[in-house]
Symmetry: C2
């Protein structure tokens, strides 16, 4: 049987998602199994069993290579996983070796989680056809990644892409990292919800927003806020616009340094769409110096929560080609 399929795995603290892809990148399907944060081998055994039907049977005869996107400090050259707070039994280990071993010795490729998602979007999503891409993922925190000339930017200490901690105003709101005024403090969901509560506390919110914040309390989400904004509430619109303008400052700064052909905005907060992207584009285009770059596409991610597994499968495919 030909080894013609590629397995992409996205490891999170609670679940491990996977995609099985063909040589042309098309997906054959996927699934997920629970993560055992204390035991890499047990997690991968369960995943192999779950994916076996797509891979030709229990011996995985069609599997050519495995890619894994994993939260933490990942050395993509050696396959070593360094610090990874949500995976205590996985960190500081030869994860690439463990992955190969769990899947019959096929080659493995590793990336951190945001780079995995970026690579998925770059090859099969919102970044298709580009050479230089910046991605910003607006989740609880804010992550990021950069593709330069078709390759993931890794950095000298495997630390590149920390776009969320670009300081946009040294007197800005406090960030979880200990600094003030990081992009994350404005445009991550934690920061955005904190700004909302401060607005309500200061009496600057609409009655509808104040009521929503009171009724949802600690359960308030950016999805709730987006629904209110989409219904036309000016205070909720204003909260997204403020975050979007700071995002635009970050995008402008990044485009001036990196001059990519596209910027992709992903993560849960980005589901607010033009509520956050329109003010972002407005500020970015004002800050970008190179005339030709001033109206570069700043677009939402397309692959949603599948992105990192799709990207990991692409990295696996390239790893196999390098070896061939």
């Amino acid at each position: 049987m030909t080894r013609d399929l590629y397995l992409g795995i996205d490891t999170g603290g609670t679940a491990v998602k996977y995609e099985v892809a063909a040589a042309d990148g098309g997906t054959l399907g996927g699934g997920e199994v629970p993560t055992d944060p204390g035991d890499v081998a047990a997690t991968l055994r369960a995943l192999a069993a779950d994916a076996a039907p797509l891979l030709g049977g229990a011996a995985l005869p069609r599997l050519a290579a495995v890619g894994m996107a994993c939260a933490g400090i990942v050395n993509p050259v050696t396959g070593h996983l360094g610090r990874s707070p949500n995976l205590p039994g996985w960190e500081n280990s030869d994860l690439g070796g463990a992955v190969s071993a769990a899947f019959g010795g096929v080659p493995s490729a590793l990336a951190n989680d945001v780079n995995g998602a970026l690579y998925g979007e770059y090859r099969h999503g919102a970044g298709r056809g580009c050479r230089d891409v910046v991605m910003i993922a607006l989740g609880t925190g804010v992550g990021g990644g950069v593709v330069v000339d078709g390759k993931l930017l890794i950095g000298s200490h495997f630390g590149a892409g920390e776009i969320g901690h670009m300081v946009l105003d040294g007197d800005g709101p406090p960030c979880t990292c200990g600094s003030r005024g990081c992009l994350e403090a404005w445009a991550g969901s934690t920061g955005l919800l904190r700004a909302t509560r401060e607005l309500v506390a200061a009496g600057g919110a609409s009655a509808a927003l104040a009521g929503l914040a009171a009724s949802r309390g600690a359960e308030l989400t950016t999805r709730d806020l987006a629904e209110l904004a989409e219904a036309g509430d000016p205070a909720a619109i204003g909260v997204f616009a403020a975050a979007g303008r700071k995002l635009g400052q970050a995008v402008g700064n990044l485009v001036n340094v990196l001059d990519p052909d596209r910027v992709i905005i992903g993560g849960g907060v980005a589901r607010a769409g033009d509520l956050i992207l329109a003010p972002c584009r407005e500020v970015a285009s004002r800050l970008i110096l190179a005339t030709e770059a001033r109206h570069l596409p700043i677009v939402p991610a397309e692959l949603g929560p599948r992105a990192a597994a799709v990207g990991a499968a692409s990295l696996a495919r390239e790893k196999a080609r390098e070896g061939a």
Copy 2:
């Protein structure tokens, strides 16, 4: 006669500097001729005549390739020079073709001026032995450049490296580009001198600094300021420290995104040395997330005004190797 020498040219609005380098990068010497901003061919003829003794005679028999660093928007792939405000007779032309033609048809390599200086430092100066380097040039304005994995970062629209226009505080001082709070508005000499005059006008300067500002008037330079600071004047020290802290914010932001192995600070303002570099390092190390990157070397440039010509000669050498 073997074609074993490389000519590196640094084109400015008033003078064209050159260096002649051997295959090992060692310099055989250099010189400069006046720029004719209206006539590329005349400028290059004069330069060829001036450099001929180093290159084996009037027919330049030892010349293997020419590199040119040039202010403006440079397409290093095609050799096209786009906008270049100080070189009205040069802009929007096939500069690479003109350079090759002026030097007997040898291969030519082009870069913008800051990238030329960065490449010189990377190959033969403060960046020797690194793979990923960021350079910030603190002149009247602030320029910058990035080497990723041994290659100059050019960008999709030949606009990468505009580090000087990273907005560090949207409410900061006005910048020549029309934005507010760009790095350049704090750490370029124009911005630094403006901050000094504002300090004097507000009565916050020492008597010595106020006296210096009054006596030098519009002729005040950052060199004057540095001398006063080196003599221990706290107000002058404070002016450099404020610029250095903003430089540190920019460096921290850049290291978080790019994770280089070294940051080089060049340009006239950087001659103030630790007056500006010490506060820069202090802020940057506080902002950098990756533990391993937190104490990366942030060092002064080494090649001074020769850097861009040295870098252009290196680019010529690589161009000749590519062709071989």
